[in-house]
Amino acid sequence: MPVDLYLQPHSMGELIHDLSFLTTDSSVVAGCTDFLAQRNGKTWHADVLISLSEMKCLKEIRAVESVISVGAACTHTQISENHLVQTFLPTLAQAARQIGSKQIRNRGTIGGNIANASPAGDTIVCAALYGAEAIVLQPSGERRIVPAVQLVDRTSSEWLQYNEVITEFRFPIPSCDHGCFIKLGTRSSVTISRISLAAYWRFEKDCLGQLSVWLGAIMPTPIHPENPGRLCGLSLGEELHGRFLKEFPAFVNGAMAERPSKGYKVQAVKGLADDLYQRICREAAVRR
């Protein structure tokens, strides 16, 4: 049988106790959408498997002062339909709504999406955009707090260890209330991102006041232009539009090492930049 010991804790105390059994041959699962998809049809083994499906405390979304706390076992459906997320973290709500199919969204979790550390992970680029922190539970019962984006960086010392579990993500509420998530894949829906963009912005009178953009599925971890301010302060119009179409490809061209997909991604990001600009214009029109 593939699993020697299956554990399904119901409380934080039980989870902390169960973490002590984990070895490098163990796994922790929640929705299993990545876990079983990678193993179906293959021979696999885990000495210990911990399922988080009964951990109700990891499935909560709440506002705590200036932070939205999202439990690591919250499903993408739950996140996309949550009023707090839709209001304060619209980019995350849009990203969660575009992950996989309805069936995948009903089971897949934000914790699994980030812990799986795929460069194409859609919630990862949103976590980067909002500067989210991950709360990581250790077998001792102590928790460490780490920028969520560092959990997907395999070169980082903050990389998730075999006996740790992400319990929660804390998203600081940004001062901007407009946001969008755009992805390009091989299909128009139910597609893995070949390139993705997460952004939020604020208008100042008729100009683009503040803009923050992160790009995913280009490098192993999300990247962002250091100075999207070159796009701020201008009124919406041809000049700003032109800058969008020039700045993003130039940034990706500089960020990527030479590899076969570089030409495609430099061109494709132009399309995403255009989509972003059009969304900003539409939101500006609604404001008026």
Binding site: D4, Q8, T33, S51, E54, S101, I104, S189
Partner: protein, 161 residues
Amino acid sequence: MMKDIRFILNRTSVRLTCPPERRMLDLLRNDLHLTGTKEGCGEGECGACTILVNGEAVHACLMMAGQADGTEITTIEGLMKDSELHPLQQAFIDHIAVSCGFCTPGMILASKALLDHLPNPTEQQVREALAGNICRCSNYEEIIAAVLDAARQLRKESKCR
């Protein structure tokens, strides 16, 4: 390792012992002999294995039996009531939305999940709900028409009650 699992399956209580990492798909088909749920890809791409868990459409190939404990599960076999076809099943027949039939159980259950939450969907909403279900016979237009028709029928029945 074996685990005792209890859940409601098609309105009946079930209690059994099995390896908890066993796929729900294998539990349903091989252990419980409910072969209406099909295996198409084993990767969560085709939707042929769609079942309802607590009213939500999920892939049975990507769910472990141990995680079914305490849930309410519906398979295609559970849709009929008192020997009468569910309006969705009847609509699929009426609209000739079935060719080989392999995708049909998954399509119907994904549609049921939609209509249970959204009784009056637009065509676009139906398309989005069924985006994870593939039909290699390409009956998509008939399937969408059947779902919209079933939605009308269900709303009518709901008003009559």
